[in-house]
Structures are given as C-alpha cells and as structure tokens.
Amino acid sequence: MSDKGEPNARRAVVEMLGIEKSFPGVRALNGVRFDLYPGEVHALMGENGAGKSTLMKILTGVYQPDAGEIRVDGAPVALPGPNAAQALGISIIHQELFLMNHLSAAQNIFIGREPRKGFGIFVDEDQMKRDAAAIFQRMKVNIPPAAEVGHMTVARQQLVEIAKALSYNARVLIMDEPTSALNETEVEHLFSVIDDLKAHGVGIVYITHKMDEVKRIADRVTVMRDGQYIDTLPAATTPMATIIQLMVGRELADQHRATGHGTDEEMLRVTGLNRGTMIRDVSFTLRKGEILGFAGLMGAGRTEVARAVFGADPIDSGTIHIHGRERRIATPADAVAEGIAYLSEDRKHFGLVTGMSVRDNITMASWYRFISGRLFMRDTAMDGVAKEYVEKLRVKTPSVSQITRLLSGGNQQKVVIGKWLLRDCDILIFDEPTRGIDVGAKAEIYRLLEELASQGKGIIVISSELPEVLRLSHRIAVMCEGRITGELDGRTATQEEIMTLATQRNAAAA
C-alpha cells in the first residue's frame, strides 16, 4: 500500500483501513487509513480537530469505528474495549491526562496490574515502587514513586502517563502529544527512550504539533486534514514546509524574532512576592505594549507566580502595583476588575466550563456586558459576539452552541483565548498559550499576541518551549526554584543564556 518511506519489507504490525467515525454534528474520520511497522516512529500530524486523537482512540478500543477494518499482524481484529487493545500489545499515552489523582505515581502506573503477594490478595507495594523507580530512571526523571499524582504539576503528571505507557512493554506505543507539557531536557530523555524502544522493535505512533520533534525522531509522517487521510511521507527527505502545507492547505509565514520593545509606561509592578517555598521574593515589572516571557524548567514556579498575581492562590507577602497604584488582589474577581486576565495551562480543569457551549465560554468573563434589565441575558447578542471570535480564531466547531467538551484539544484552547480577548483586559497572562495548538493556529496566536501588544496591552507569556519564548518576548524573565534568576533582552537572548539561568539553582544561596 505505502511504498514511500516504508522501513523495510517486514509486515505491518498495525493496519487501519477505511476508518469512519462520526459524532453528533461532527464527521471526525472519513475513510482514514494508517499503518505502522515494528521499530519505526510514525508521526501523525494534522491541524487541531483533524481527527488524530479519535483515530488513536479507535485503535485502543476507547471508541468504536462506524466503519473500517483494523488488522494486527495482518489479521482483522475487534477492539471492543481498552482491555482488548492492551491484550494485543497496544498501549497509549492519552493527550488528556487520565490519572487517578489520589493515588501515587507507582500506584497509577501499575493500576490493575499490581504485583501481588499473600495468595494474590495483597498488593506488593515495595515491589511496585521499585518497578516504578526503574522506569523513571530509564526516563531519567526524578519523581518519587510514592508521591501523590494530584499534587504534581501537569508536566510531572505527563511524565507519569508516559511511564505508565512504557510499563506495558507494548509492541505498539501511541503517544498523543506526550511532550506538550515537558521541557527540553525531559523531551530529550523521552527521545532517548524512544530510540531505545525502536531498537527493540516497538512501533510508535507519535502525535505532535512540534515540527522539530518530527524531524528529530520520526521515520514516516502521515498527514490528516479535516478527518481525511492526506498522505504518508518519509520524514527524513520531506521538507517541513511541505508537511505544513499538506496539513493546513496553505503556506505559512516564516518564524521570526520579536522586534522593538514595549513603551516605558509601567503597567504592572510585582514586588517581593512570596508564597511558601514555591515563590520566593519574586519582583518584576511589565510595561505597556510589552511581551514579557517567563522561561524556566518544569516546576520553576512560573504558574505559581501567575496564579498568585491573579489572586487564584493566597500569598504570604508581596505587593502589586497596577498603573503605579498599589492594589490588593485577593481573588480572581479582583484581578479581572483590575484588568488582569489569566489563561491557565490546564484548560480542562481551570480554563473551560466544558459542559457549557462555546458561546457561554467565550462570553463567560464578560457576561456582565450582556445583561439587560439588570437580570436577563442577551443570548442573541452573545451569539453574535461568539461567532465573531470563532471566526477570528478559526475555532473548528459546528456552531457556537456546541458543548465545549466535544471540541478537540486545540480548539478548546482557542475558546479560552477567545474568552480573554473578549474581556479586553490590559494585562494578559498567558500560561502555555499554544499547548496542544497546531502550527497554523500557533502562528495566528503569535500574530494575535503581537497585535495586542502593539495595541498597548501588557502581556506575560509563560512557555516551556524556548523557541516560542524567544520568538515572542521583548524581555525574558527566567525562573528557577521559585526565584527569578535573571532577565534577558528578548531581541538578543539565546537558548543557552536562558538555560544557564534556568538551572542556576544556587542563586538561592546568594
């Protein structure tokens, strides 16, 4: 079937043919095919909502296809549930984290497959912790197996998910945006694990929106668009531009660096902010028309700072000046009233009311504007405004009345962005704004942020992707272990400079 870039003449371990899947109002997959050979990394790419996650959920028995055939080792199989897929050696790292928050890392990894003792009744916790520690060591990450997952950052939770998938020792491993919350080091460690798996003949499906990752590890690339199969190409010889063009069906502007800088007018001044051990004496300023990047390794405390400034978490000490005047911000409501917006890194839990419509989510922070007679909601007006933003941000949704939960991850992110754009705050804090967003949309969001800055807003961008920080920021604050370890000029900073500051652990002692 596929004569392009096929690794060798071995038999495909997985083949999917003519897969169809519809959800109410959405044709998610339309005659999609896909195959995977042992020992290859097959990247699956496409814009938000192209159907990547859905295709993989079908392969892992989470969804049932409406039509089509799945073959494993050449034989047609039925996958009525996750069990069936696991039994065939297919395992997945889900895009949305599916973890049990009250259980420890080790308990999550081995859930349902616990090592037993005492006639198979009792769980052998020690054995389990040892096994988990071994997997973490292989991934070169430092997560205590007994730590409760609910207390971890999204990044660490993602690492636990990866560890869990690895623990199955599967023949087929599907990774749905495994690195969306990871920093460069962790990504490198993951890649070496992937290389190792490849060497052992494991077939890997790799879904990502990060082009450099595809170049780095993929053997073949399959591109999907609007629920349809577009093409399968060898990763090494195909120019990225071609792939992007296939994905989006149009050309994209080149990447470039930030130019100019903000005005001298100070919008936000944070002084001596402290919160437990997570935020230590953090001070910074944000100027009008400026994009201030926050860089750092996982757990550096950037999210903590953002949440504290936004009033989402209580602080121990510190003052916040807005437009030169000291303000007490105790709740997010205070913050929004002061013109601060915060886009959370965890959209599922903190960003969206997933049970409500796209319209209600986009207008949520601005509902007060859509009230007539002090009580009644002007739904038609809200529809109009929401439609405007759906078009502006190219949200892929059948209508603004669609329940947000049914949107793909990236489109959900756009809805949250839309919410804050509509609220029209002066100070915008974007925490991982492009997490899970495809290249096309990413460029649009960058353009949008720049436009907002040029309109005179102050913008803080927290991002774990260094190219993104460098691409956007006029100034870059780097954090390590709850402190700001340095500030760099965005026009001249390099990745190396940032990494140096981000790992300056002993700055604490000084």
């Binding site: 109410p24 929004v336 439609k387 009345s401």
Partner: protein, 334 residues
Amino acid sequence: MSDTTMGKTGTGKSALLSAETMQKAVAFVVLIALIAFFSAFAANFATGANMVGIMQATAVNGVLGVAVTFVIISGGIDLSVGTMMTLTAVMAGIILTNMGMPLPIGIIGAILSGAIMGAISGAIIAKLKIPPFIATLGMMQIARGLALVFSGAKPIYFNDTPNYGLLSPESSISKLIPGVEIPNGVMIMFIVAIIASIVLNRTIIGRMIFALGSNEEAARLSGINVDRWKILTYAICGGICGIAGLIVSSRLNSAQPALGLGYELDAIAAAVIGGTSLAGGRGTVIGTIIGAFIMSVLTNGLRVMGVLEEWKIVVTGVIIIVAVFIDIVLRKRT
C-alpha cells in the same frame, strides 16, 4: 465560512433546544405511561376529584423539588429543604398568630427567613469550604431543632388569619373559570416553576448557577465571584422552601413543627427523575415538576389500586430506579 457557521449555528441551537425538550419529554413519557396504566387498571383513578387530589399532593414536593433543583444544578445539594420548610411555616405562625401581624408580613417573613437560612448554608459552604452534603445535613438538624424551639414543640394554628387558606386549599381560579377546581397551592407551584424556569434559563443568575455546576474553578478563574453566587443560589433555594412552608401550613391551617424530615429525599428524587444531574450543570425546572408528578401519581395510583402499604414502598423504590433508567436510555438515544 461565515455562512456555514451561521447555518450550523442554527441547527446547533435547534439541536440543543430539542435535546432540552427531549429531556423533559422523557420524564413526561414516564408520567403519561403511569397515568395510562392506572387509568386502565385502577378504578376511580381517572376522576376529576382524584386528579385535583394528585395535584394537591404534588404541590409541596414540587416546590421543594424546584428549590433543590437550583442547588443541584449549581453542583451542590440541600438536605435541609424539608426541615427548612417547617421552620419557615413556624415563622409564619409566629408572625401571624403569635404576633398578630397581617398576612403579607407573614408571607414575606416566611420567605425571608428561608432565604436567610439558605444564605447561611451557602456561606458555610462557600466561605468555610464545607461540603454541601454536610453543611446542609447540619442545617437540616438546626432548622428542625429551631422549629421545635420557636413553636414550643406544638402546632401553631392560623385560626386568627381567616384568609390564610388562600395560600393553598382554596381555589381562586375556580371563581374565574367555574369547574376548574385547581387549588391555589397548586397554582402557586406552577407559578414558582415558571418563574424559576425563566430565572434559570434567561437570567444572569441562572447562567451563573449552570457555570458553577459545570466547572466552578473555571468560573472562578474567569473572574466570577463564585462565593457570592453560591450564597445566592442557596438563598433562593431557602426562599422557595419558604413558599413550600406557606403552602403546607395553609393546607393544614397550622405550622406542624415536626413535619419535614425525609421530605428532602423526595424533593431530590423528583429533581433527578426529572433529568437533573446530581453532578451539577444540567437540569430543568419543568423536569422536576414532572418528576414530582410521577412520584405522586405513583403513590396515589397504587393506593387507589389498593396495593398493600409495604408493597407500595417496594414498588415506589423500583419505580424511582426505573424512571431514571428510562430517562437515561431515552436521552442517550437522541
């Protein structure tokens, strides 16, 4: 692009509408089936007088169901609705009988005292972060105890307020449209339901309640003053309990201080049978009213059929489960 979006929005909206309609329709189907069954198999069931009796038996549970529907949609629960109703009835008794004030003050007093108690529950939940189940379990006891304290553990009669019967047993509508003997208590239930429905679906209060129930943290991080809306939600619930208190005490021409325990479970059952999700974020007032009717049709029908009391209890348990099951199955089909 714009055109497609427009077109799709249209269908989306009507799809939503029909889903909502469907949800009510589901409970409605169960109700109609029950009525048809009893009409066929229980002699004397399908008489006008019995229908009025059923309506009257629905009024209190229906109003309490509406009260608790607000709270459940907001992601909470209120176990105190039954005893709160009693406490408000006692308050009305104190104001009208013991203090001899005019009727409107008694009405306002009952509703207001319910709203205040509800607001206290809400404040405990919002500010002290006590789970609603526990906060209102405590409030259920507090209201029950206070009702006994205030009334001196004796019924308070409304004999000095001759027009108190206007609130429930009398039928003002029958004076306008002779033959339509619907008691005022039932009319009040319908009016409460209509207003509640408008509040939930058309006003900012309702929108906030749905947002709280769907994802409170996301609402908070959108700059919404979550605590304030939560307190308001429980206050509304308490105020509606006050209306239930007026209906029940008007019907009995007395505030009975021990009544109300266990009513909370019936009210919650009515809401859930009517399609309100205990997880929050989903529900309709009309569904709750239908749910309350299902419960009282069932009780009445089994009684008219002469089913043994103990088997009646068993059957009621079974039907609660079956009704919700049918709701779930039919709703999934759409």
